[in-house]
Amino acid sequence: MAALTPNPYAYDAGDAVLGGNHTYGSLTDKISRPVLDPTIRPGWALGILISGSVAGLLFVTIIYLVFTGIGIWGNNQPIGWAFDITNFVWWIGIGHAGTLISAILLLFKQEWRTSINRFAEAMTIFAVACAGLFPLLHTGRPWLAYWMLPYPNTMWMWPQFRSPLMWDVFAVSTYASVSFLFWYTGLIPDLATLRDQAKKIWTKRIYGLMSFGWRGSAMHWQRYETAYLLLAGLSTPLVLSVHSVVSFDFAVSVVPGWHVTIFPPYFVAGAIFSGFAMVLTLAIPIRKWYGMEDFITNRHLDNMAKVMLATGLIVAFGYAMEAFISFYSGNTYEVYMIKNRMTGPYWWSYWCLLLCNILIPQLLWIPGIRRSAGWLFFLSIVVNIGMWLERFVIIVTSLHRDFLPSSWSMFTPTFWDFSMYFGTIGFFFFNMLMFIKVLPMISAFEMRELLSKKLRHGHYGGGHHGGGGHTAPSPATSGAPAHGPVGTEPAGGAL
């Protein structure tokens, strides 16, 4: 029996999808406690203070930008887009993990998604909000940006549907609205739980309003399940379409380095890659600070790391093909473009990108690293940087030297380029912290569902949901305690 010999791929107790020795009550309490506990943790307050200040910088930047013009950034003549669209694509990409986790993994019945989907979806919404700021504010006259919407007007003008920017408008707005609906629908049963648990009258009322009168009747559950599944079905193509459309902004143009047919799949893979990196960046500290190790277990980290590894390899293939096709095409401009990326003035960005997105993530082949929160946190930051650089390389190094050398130039960011970028990061974290404080960061009812399965099946340790796939030994489905005692650590906190 496989169980008799130590298997390097075997999961230990911490690798269960649901750790600890929870009851329905303890589980619910633990998830809703950060929300209902009136005490303000000093760490949380400090986080709000820092991220809020940085978000304030974003506010100042936006005011200055709208009053003065795009000229406060470093964008210039050949380089019409720089940090603005780099950041836009980066943020949109980050959002993708949320949708993937909530929709695709749901459809594939990957139950390990349950404990991370809620805040991954929240992350998606906040990331899309940050992303949306850039295309809106990077226009020269943002107060007229609504002209991109097809609305009946006295000018008798329609937007131009041939422009990829129009496709962007639809793709991103659809994505944002569907993501929000999906997230909110999933929140309703939990909001009802909060309503029921809340002690204070206003808290009760607010959660009551937000839960739309959820009573948990069988009819409710039946409709909920249908709606949730439908939304998952609706979101699934969005995971693929949004970043494909974003990639069309580049692929449809004539600029060497942009006009690349491999862009749609390569952008989607990159988006998931960076999205999972961001989920890890958020999940690892949160689970530590809130003692959520029972819910976000090493098993989750391991699965996410595997997704990262897989998408990272797709991205690496994309880079390789990009370079190969450029050389192989023999096209003057393409050959020059790739040489310029590798050896031109922005060579450092290209090689840093390869280092961050290809070389360093290869560490994920090592199981120990996949299950080490510290390592993964480090890797997630590296990948976040790498994916930002990828967009910078595509946008800036392609534009700065295109067809006519007489126009070649360099891009140097200004203070306001950075303040806008870091401002959105501040805004993002501010929103995330607020979210943690006012909404359950983990889907409590889905966790209860999971618990019920666990209680029915005994230890619930992967089974047919195992993210390990074919490499992992298939544990007995009989429920034999194959992997040691359950709940080696006490349930976090006194609850």
């Binding site: 003065t68 013009g69 795009i70 000229g71 406060i72 470093g74 964008n75 210039n76 003549q77 050949p78 019409g80 887009w81 295309p135 990077h138 226009t139 020269g140 006259r141 943002p142 007229l144 940006a145 002209w147 991109m148 003008m157 329609w158 937007p159 131009q160 041939r162 422009s163 990829p164 920017l165 129009m166 408008v169 902004d249 449809v252 143009s253 004539v254 600029v255 003057t332 401009y333 050959v335 020059y336 534009l399 295109d402 067809f403 006519l404 050398p405 007489s406 126009s407 070649w408 130039s409 360099m410 140097t412």
Partner: protein, 1084 residues
């Protein structure tokens, strides 16, 4: 409405007052009077007329109707705050004026004392643009960068606006009184000195003549910073008299230029450029046979001390000698000796002997041209050479000097300085110019002038008197007691002669904006004649010289034409009293540079000249040819010398000529001679306007004052200069780095094509085979007009006239040095791209400063692609294609995503990153009312001057209707003629300005009276091997296409090699070329 009232009878009222007793308070007299009106008032709820219609039978229907109309009309007023002001109708409208249509007046732009003939465009009383006057011999309808920008100087807010004394506001009459007081007790004008610039104005000369007669002791000095002193001295040496040289490049087949920049900063350079390029134009007949062979096409040899646009027109890198300024005399001597019959054996033997042989072989059509930087002996030698080559009377003619009192300016100023030192003068009137800034450093004119102005008598009054007439309160004005603002030429009556003597009456286009005056006014004051309007002065002067004609008629015709008939100076034939051998012997001995010293050659700046345009933002921002630097005048240096001195572009070098030292930032530029620096004048201004002065943080102009190291004995060539590297560095705003076609950067991009004129017999047009099956829609011709352009790279000399013309026409803003230096943001719709072709690899390796041939110029503006990549990516359809083939930009629709610019392969789109348009008086008066002033956040680009096209389109449409309606053939005929006139007069601003007619823009559908195609269509169609589209392989199908540059290398020096013809075949390989030719043959 008071018709219904019962008015009180006054008498009745008085009766009531009489009956009232006791404390009875009353509110109004009416109550007191107990009137029925008051009772009525108290009882009524609303005032009378407020709640009922008083007009009789008003129906509800008509009430609603009126209310509706009121509401509608309220909307008419609506929303916008109307400008407050009085509206006065034209009781008598200005003659000839149709609102919306400009008027053109002929006048002349004085430049260094000589006329540039212009037509000033006036919109409702304000001049907005200058065009060349086709009647004028200097202009021939074209213009240059200075002329194009001159109108901006009129609206310069920094212009002096009032007469001042010691910086305090005064009046011109006070000035006149002060001058009169000065002249009291000076019957002969003792101690009075007048300092002028070069004077060619016949009226002013006559006035000054009268003045000298009246006051024989007045001294007249002259100082022109960029004059013809060396040429004058050279002529005197050769002919024993002062003559002025006029070149005829149209007749020249072999040209040797000795450090001359005849295409750019000569007073006659617009004409020279036309003649030069006309002779070089290469055309093909239907069988692709070339119109001129190597012998018929002019060939240019250049020896120069600074890379200039003339040098870039040399026919081969071997035809261009980079020499230190002092070495050029030696080279000229060697060529002269070779022509006499002693072949050279020195370093430049190959060049010298080949040039000599070539010049000799074209006896009668050779030409030697000398620049003002060269010493008189070289000028004298050139005269002797031209004489021995049979050039005189053919390619060279002589005239008497056009300037009045032709004299050596340095000597003249020196006399003035010594007169000041010896206190021989006590009254100094400076009429124009800025000698404090521009005088040689050893004269220390500024200090002398301050001291002169400050000397006081015992009673504390000023002993001396100094006054200055100039447009700005500049360095000189600051040091004089009085300053009188000088009128801009567009505000003045005057007259002036061109380089060949042709006179033009300067007429005002606008009344003076400020209390400014002309030199005529000052001299009138001195003459103590009553203030005569300058118009009368000029008119009376010409009345005297035009006897026997109906004067008023003559005056009007002359004003209209812009040229005084018969005023051109007749050619003279001076007797050469210098043998060639003697001229060679007279050449200065070669200077052996002391170790560690450099030479500096000082030239006028290609955009701000001697500093007189330093406050003109259009000229400051215009990228200078070759260096592509804006807002500055770095010292140019070769790569090799820079490396030796440890410098790079932006390093600051302190240079010293003896005790005179100044700082210069350096810029490494290709093809600069080693061991020398080139600097230009005009920068480093202390006063003279916000732009001229620059700012201390280097974000604005500033530049470096070359005059600080120029001394009277070393005016153009400063030898023995010591240098010291400063630790500072300086930021330069350079718009285009030097690019090397076929260098590692370009890898054979099909951007410019360079052909040899003798290798063309059997070449065919390159045809690109697109990979995809492209739609042929672009060839559909659905509009009435089909606008298109062909740019002749062979004609372009890179002079920038088109760049500034476009800026003036299209209200293009200026962004400032910081925006260019830090962000590389420019707004020019038109730019001159320049590319180098490596000479020969081993050559470049041996000598890193030798960058190669070129630069080759390529005017670049919106190509109006038939398949425009910009159009499809705009999300709001702000850029679209017209049926006439224009790529149109709808500013109001633009939201500024900049996607169009990213997707433009030519990068010709310009984005308003910030709000750069100035909307303040008086600057905004310069705006062309036909063109939108763009706000920030909006993309803009070349429109092919759509405002001009629209005017023409309207006129033509109207005419066509009239032609169709015309009953008789005579009317039809005359309307037809009108139609052809309108169509043939249509030009874009760049096309109109271009001195070499390099830009052929036309309605490609137009056929002239004889059914002939427009030039642009002729050049486009058929098998013209010179015709190509820039980066055609991108597949944009541009409506703007180009013609290859043609060189005519001397095969003795530069034998034909495989890559002498640099076409796209280099990039695509020979097999590709064969395939193309096969395809091409098959197509026939």
């Amino acid at each position: 409405m008071s018709a219904n009232h019962d008015h009180l009878d006054e008498l009745a009222q008085q009766d009531r007052f009489a009956t009232l007793r006791g404390k009875k308070y009353w509110r109004t007299l009416d109550e007191l009077a107990g009137s029925s009106e008051f009772d009525n008032y108290v009882t009524r709820e609303f005032q009378e007329n407020a709640d009922e219609w008083q007009g009789g039978d008003v129906s509800r229907r008509s009430f609603i109707k009126l209310m509706g109309a009121s509401m509608a009309l309220a909307g008419v007023y609506g929303c916008m705050k109307q400008p407050a002001g009085k509206m006065v109708p034209y009781v008598v409208p200005p003659e000839y004026n149709t609102a919306g249509k400009p008027l053109f007046y002929a006048t002349a732009f004085p430049f260094g004392g000589y006329a540039k003939g212009v037509l000033a465009e006036q919109h409702l009383g304000r001049p907005t643009k200058l065009e060349g006057n086709p009647e004028h011999p200097q202009s021939l309808g074209a213009s240059d960068v200075f002329t194009q920008a001159a109108v901006l100087s009129l609206y310069d807010p920094d212009r002096a606006q009032n007469t001042t004394t010691l910086g305090q506001m005064a009046s011109f009459s006070a000035y006149q009184r002060a001058v009169a007081a000065r002249f009291a007790g000076k019957p002969g004008g003792q101690g009075v000195a007048i300092l002028t610039e070069t004077v060619t104005s016949p009226t002013l000369v006559a006035q000054l003549g009268t003045l000298m007669e009246k006051y024989p002791d007045i001294k007249w000095y002259q100082w022109e910073p960029v004059g013809r002193d060396n040429a004058r001295a050279g002529a005197v040496a050769a002919f024993a008299k002062d003559v002025q040289t006029i070149y005829h490049f149209d007749k020249a087949k072999r040209i040797l230029s000795l450090d001359s920049n005849f295409l750019l900063d000569d007073p006659f350079s617009v004409r020279y450029a036309r003649e030069f390029s006309d002779a070089r134009k290469v055309r093909f007949d239907e069988g692709a046979h070339i119109n001129k062979g190597a012998d018929a096409m002019p060939r240019l040899y250049v020896a120069e001390s600074t890379p200039t646009i003339v040098g870039s027109m040399a026919d081969h890198s071997k035809h261009r000698k980079r020499l230190k300024p002092s070495e050029i005399a030696g080279l000229a001597g060697a060529i002269a000796r070779a022509i006499v019959g002693t072949p050279d054996t020195g370093t430049h033997a190959e060049f010298v002997n080949a040039v000599a042989a070539d010049l000799l072989a074209h006896n009668g059509s050779s030409l030697v041209v000398v620049g003002e930087t060269q010493p008189p002996a070289v000028h004298a030698l050139a005269h002797a050479l031209n004489a021995s080559l049979g050039a005189v009377g053919n390619t060279v003619t002589y005239i008497d000097p056009v300037e009045a009192q032709s004299q050596d300016n340095v000597a003249s100023l020196k006399t003035l300085v010594s007169a000041i030192d010896k206190s021989e003068i006590d009254t100094l009137l400076i009429l124009g110019g800025n000698p404090v800034y521009s005088a040689p450093a050893d004269f220390d004119f500024g200090t002398r002038l301050v001291n002169f102005s400050n000397v006081k008598n015992a009673d504390g009054s000023f002993k001396n008197f100094s006054s200055h007439l100039s447009s700005h309160y500049d360095e000189t004005a600051f040091r004089c007691q009085w300053h009188v603002p000088e009128s801009h030429f567009l505000e003045s009556w005057s007259d002036i002669r061109a380089w060949d003597g042709t006179a033009t009456i300067i007429q005002p286009i606008i009344a003076p904006l400020y209390n400014s005056h002309t030199p005529h006014d000052i001299v009138t004051t001195l003459l103590e004649t009553p203030d005569a309007p300058a118009q009368d002065l000029v008119k009376n002067h010409w009345k005297g010289s035009q006897q026997g004609v109906e004067f008023e008629n003559w005056w009007r015709t002359t004003l209209e034409k812009g040229v005084v008939e018969g005023s051109t100076f007749a050619a003279v034939t001076p007797v050469l009293n210098l043998e060639l051998a003697g001229a060679i012997a007279a050449l200065p001995a070669p200077v052996s540079a002391a170790a560690g010293t450099l030479e500096i050659v000082v030239r006028p700046d290609p955009t701000i000249y001697d500093g007189r345009f330093a406050n003109n933002a259009w000229l400051q921002e215009c990228p200078k040819p070759i260096s592509k630097v804006t807002w500055d005048n770095p010292a140019f240096i070769s790569r090799k010398t820079a490396e030796e001195l440890g410098l790079s572009t932006g390093s600051v070098l302190t240079v010293a000529n003896g005790k005179f030292a100044t700082d210069f930032a350096v810029q490494v530029i290709p093809n600069h001679p080693d061991g020398s620096l080139s600097v230009t004048l005009g920068y480093g201004r202390e006063r003279g306007g916000h732009i001229a002065e620059g700012s201390s943080d280097g974000t604005k102009s500033g530049g470096f004052n070359a005059n600080r190291i120029v001394t009277s004995d070393k005016r153009h060539i400063v030898t023995g200069v010591t240098t010291m590297l400063s630790r500072h560095s300086y930021k330069l705003a350079i718009t285009q780095a030097s690019q090397n076609i076929e260098g590692k950067d370009l890898e054979g991009r099909d951007i410019v094509r360079i052909e040899s004129v003798d290798g063309l017999e059997h070449r065919h047009k390159h045809v690109y085979l697109p990979l995809y099956n492209q739609t042929e829609d672009w060839q559909k011709n659905i509009g009435v007009h089909k606008w298109g352009a062909v740019v002749d790279n062979n004609a372009c000399i890179g002079c920038n006239a088109c760049v500034v013309a476009c800026q003036a026409e299209n209200n293009t803003p200026v962004v400032g040095k910081h925006q260019i230096e830090r962000f590389n943001r420019q707004m020019h719709w038109m730019r001159i791209d320049q590319y180098y072709f490596p000479a020969e690899e081993e050559h470049v390796k041996a000598d890193p400063s030798q960058f190669g041939e070129g630069p080759y110029y390529e005017p670049m503006f919106c190509q109006h692609c038939e398949l425009a990549p910009c159009e499809v990516v705009c999300p709001v359809v702000a850029t679209s294609h017209s049926v006439e083939g224009l790529n149109e930009m709808t500013y109001n629709r633009c939201i500024g995503t900049r996607y169009c610019s990213n997707n433009c392969p030519y990068k010709v789109r310009r984005f308003n990153f910030l709000n750069w348009n100035i909307r303040t008086e008086p600057h905004q008066l310069v705006y062309n009312p036909d063109v939108t002033v763009r706000q920030r956040g909006v993309m803009e680009k070349c429109t092919f001057c759509v405002q001009r096209l629209v005017h023409t389109r309207q006129d033509v449409k109207k005419l066509k209707v009239q032609i169709d309606a015309a009953k008789d053939d005579v009317t039809k005929q005359s309307l037809g003629d009108e139609y052809h006139k309108i169509m043939s007069e249509l030009q874009t601003a760049c096309q109109q300005a271009c001195p070499t007619e390099a830009i052929h823009f036309a309605d490609l559908n137009y056929r002239d009276k004889d059914g002939k195609l427009p030039e642009a269509e002729v050049l486009k169609t058929g098998d013209n091997p010179a015709h190509f589209a820039v980066i055609e392989d991108v597949g944009t199908k541009p409506r703007t296409t180009y013609l290859a540059r043609f060189n005519n290398p001397n095969r003795e020096m530069a034998p034909a090699k495989a890559h002498d013809t640099h076409g796209p075949d280099k990039a695509h390989g020979d097999s590709h070329e064969t395939a193309i030719e096969t395809e091409h043959e098959a197509a026939h």
